[in-house]
Amino acid sequence: MSLSSIPSDWILGLAGGLVIGLSAAILLLGNARILGASGILGSIVEGSEPDSATERLWFLGALIGVPGIAVLIFGAPQTNVSGDLPLLVLAGVLVGLGTRLANGCTSGHGVCGMSRFSWRSIVSTLVYLAAGIVVMFVARNILGVL
C-alpha cells in the first residue's frame, strides 16, 4: 500500500490525535492534571474545586479561542450538526449527565485513562463505544432518525 493510497482523513486523524495526546501530556507533566473535557467543564459548572477554577477557565478559553482563531484564518470546516434541536437537547443532556456520572469522557477515560491502563477507563470506554454503536444502529436503521 503506497502512502498516497491512504485516505487523507486517516493521516489528518493520526496527526490531530498526536496533537491531542501532546496537549494531554503537557497538562499531565506540567500541572499534574488529567485532560478530561467533561471534568474540566463540569467542575466549573458545578462549582466544585473552586481553588483550581481559574486554571480550568484558562484551559477552556484557549480550547474555544485557539481553534476559533484558526477557523477565522483558514475557514470553518463542516460540523454537520443536526438541525433537529430537540434531538440535540436530548443528546446534550445525555452526554453531560453520562460523562459526569462516569467521571470521564473520550478524553479523560479514552485517552488519559486507557493510556495508563486504568481498569475503570477501559471498561467505561468499551461501554460507551458499545452503547454508541447500538444506539446508532437502532436510530439509523430501525427508527430512521439519523
Binding site: A25, E46, L63, T106, V111, V123, L146
Partner: protein, 141 residues
C-alpha cells in the same frame, strides 16, 4: 506558570480536535455506524492521542512531582459500579445521537452554529442534573 500550561494545553487540544476532523459530527457518527458506512478515522485519532500519553505516564512514574510541583494523580481504585456503567451507557447514547463528545462540542462552539450552541447548553444542563443523582463521585479517571 500553571495558567500558561493550562492555556497551551487547551489551545493544542482544540487544534488537535480541529485537525483530526473530530469536530465533524458526521465523521464521529460514521465511526459508530459499524454496520453501515463505517468510518475508521476515530481509531487513528484515539491511537495517535494515546501514543504521547503512554510516554507521559512513563515519565510521570519516574518523577515525584510535575513541573509546577504537584503530585501526579494516583491510579483510581478499579471499582466498576453502577454509576460508571450507567454514565457510560448514557454518554454513548448521546454521543451517537449528536456525534459530539464534550471536547469537540466545546472547541467548535464558535463555528458550529445554533445546533452546536444548543448542544453545549444542554450538556451543561446535564452536568447540573448529575449533581442531583446519588452520592458524590470518586477521584478522577
Amino acid at each position: 506558570m500553571r495558567h500558561l500550561v493550562s492555556a497551551i494545553s487547551g489551545g493544542l487540544f482544540g487544534l488537535g480536535l480541529l485537525i483530526s476532523g473530530m469536530t465533524d459530527t458526521a465523521k464521529v457518527q460514521g465511526w459508530l455506524d459499524l454496520f453501515g458506512q463505517w468510518d475508521p478515522t476515530l481509531a487513528f485519532v484515539l491511537g495517535g492521542a494515546i501514543l504521547p500519553m503512554l510516554l507521559a505516564w512513563r515519565v510521570a512514574a519516574r518523577r515525584k512531582v510535575s513541573v509546577v510541583g504537584d503530585a501526579f494523580p494516583t491510579m483510581p481504585e478499579p471499582l466498576i459500579d453502577g454509576r460508571l456503567l450507567t454514565g457510560s451507557v448514557l454518554f454513548g447514547a448521546g454521543w451517537a445521537l449528536a456525534g459530539f463528545c464534550p471536547g469537540p462540542a466545546i472547541a467548535s462552539v464558535t463555528w458550529g452554529g445554533l445546533g452546536g450552541v444548543v448542544f453545549v447548553i444542554a450538556m451543561i444542563g446535564g452536568m447540573v442534573l448529575s449533581t442531583f443523582v446519588g452520592k458524590r463521585r470518586l477521584a478522577a479517571a
